[in-house]
């Protein structure tokens, strides 16, 4: 628990300069944490940092930066700092507006994966100790290995104790114990299914989409919220019909909007009430951007995102000739 104590100590030290501190607090629900907004020193005791802190708190960065006058403190995991870096590279707010308190990470448990393993049974208790994960349901207790239930991004994470940008860094004494995986390994297999099968796969997936726009609302980089095309009446881009065509349309627009910006935090998929594999789309988009423009998101706040700039001669673009 020393990480948590260090975090509280650090937060106490800098709280005076801050208008607001965003962090994690415990909740009654097992294996979950709540975001907490702390305004004075008294609230710091409610801060926690566990292996279930999956929320990417940088989701609040843009709206808080615009609506507050003072500085904002934010408890972030190393992977969450990517979102802030990306927002900074688009010059959406000043660097010193957000004080980044980065806490080293040793893998984050994905609630949805545990639930999928339990075949949708309600989780009524959860306990993490070292490598083991004890989960209770109405049918009894399950002893699981925590490293098999990490969020996808943990398996190719290289910055868990080495954040690219921070103001305060609290090292985690534990190492990430996930078995490393290649980031894009599942994409090739998916693409080899052929166009028809891919089309019907997405037709089925987007057929479930109820367009609650949770994926958009939770995304740290989709800052358009009130100006989104889904709110426009003239022109009426998105109809109210619920079918796979409209779901596909919305997701394609999302992908285009996030091309060269998405940092792969996976929050969209986590927020989806219908478990549509949205992060697969975002992963593919990241792969294309990497290949075309040799650009990786969330690494350098001084680098311009690829779709906001251009080169006279594009080395990797081969224009087709229809003659």
């Amino acid at each position: 628990m020393s990480v948590e104590n260090n975090l509280k100590e650090k937060a106490g030290e800098i709280m005076e300069d801050l208008e607001l501190l965003v962090g994690y607090s415990s909740t009654n629900l097992p294996l979950k944490v709540d975001p907490v907004f702390i305004k004075d020193k008294g609230g710091i005791d409610s801060l926690v940092f566990t292996k279930t802190c999956i929320n990417n708190l940088s989701t609040y960065a843009y709206s808080l930066a615009k609506s507050t006058e003072g500085k904002i403190g934010m408890v972030l995991k190393p992977c969450d700092t990517r979102s802030i870096i990306q927002l900074l590279s688009e010059e959406l707010f000043e660097r010193d507006k957000i004080k980044m308190i980065v806490v080293g990470c040793s893998g984050i448990i994905a609630y949805k994966k545990v639930q999928k393993y339990l075949k949708g049974l309600r989780i009524i208790s959860g306990k993490i100790e070292g490598d083991s994960l004890e989960v209770g349901t109405i049918e009894g207790k399950h002893s699981l290995k925590s490293k098999e239930f990490y969020a996808d991004k943990c398996y190719w994470c290289k910055i868990y104790n080495n954040p690219p940008l921070f103001d305060e860094f609290i090292e985690n004494e534990k190492e990430l114990d996930a078995v490393p995986r290649e980031k894009y390994e599942d994409l090739d297999q998916f693409e080899s299914m052929g166009l028809d099968k891919i089309y019907s796969y997405w037709e089925e997936q987007f057929g479930q989409c109820i367009r609650c726009y949770a994926c958009r609302n939770i995304c740290p980089l989709e800052i358009c919220r009130e100006r989104c095309i889904t709110h426009l009446e003239v022109p009426h881009w998105q109809s109210q019909r619920i079918n796979s065509d409209e779901g596909r349309f919305f997701q394609l627009i999302r992908v285009m909007h996030l091309a060269g910006r998405c940092t792969g935090c996976g929050e969209c998929e986590r927020a989806c009430p219908k478990n549509i594999p949205i992060s697969k789309l975002m992963k593919k988009s990241g792969q294309i951007i990497e290949r075309l423009f040799d650009y990786r998101t969330g690494e350098d706040p001084k680098k311009r995102p690829p779709l906001l700039t251009f080169k006279d001669v594009e080395e990797n673009i081969k224009e087709e000739k229809i003659v």
Binding site: L195, Y199, D245, I288, L292, V323
Partner: protein
């Protein structure tokens, strides 16, 4: 009508049955300064073209939001063609250079959604290239008519 330049290519297209009601629908976004004038030149020179193309004039290829392309597909277009000035020849200096990056990304991404990337194309056609416009239209329509799958 006196149609000059009647080639074997165009005759074949008119004979081919097509896929939907005997005809495919193609939406073309042409930039005002180059490609629209190029298509106009092709018309003035009476270069014969297939009639499947509906042209929408835009100020610049950089004006073409990928949203337009996706919406066109969603509303049932079989193909979408975007055309603008040649790179470094843009009326506004750099519009088509931004556009090129967006379109290339979209073109690479469409197959991942199960949509054939051959249904979308972007071309650079200048105001004097009526002949090129004719070739592009003929071949693009042919490509759309012969496509398989979605």
């Amino acid at each position: 009508m006196n149609m000059t330049n009647k080639t074997d290519k165009t005759e074949k297209i008119q004979e081919s049955p097509g896929k939907r009601n005997g005809e495919v629908n193609i939406v073309a976004f042409l930039c005002n300064w180059c490609s629209y004038a190029g298509a106009d030149a092709a018309g003035t020179a009476r270069l014969r073209q297939p009639e499947n193309i509906r042209i929408i004039r835009v100020p610049c290829s950089g004006r073409v939001n990928p949203l337009f392309i996706i919406k066109a597909f969603n509303l049932g277009a079989d193909g979408v063609l975007v055309s603008g000035c040649h790179p470094n020849d843009c009326h506004y200096g750099e519009g088509n250079l931004y556009a090129r990056r967006r379109f290339e990304f979209l073109k690479k991404f469409l197959p991942f959604m199960g949509i054939d990337s051959n249904r979308f194309s972007y071309q650079w056609i200048s105001a004097s290239e009526g002949q090129k416009w004719q070739n592009v239209v003929i071949n693009f329509v042919k490509r759309i008519e012969n496509r398989e799958g979605k």
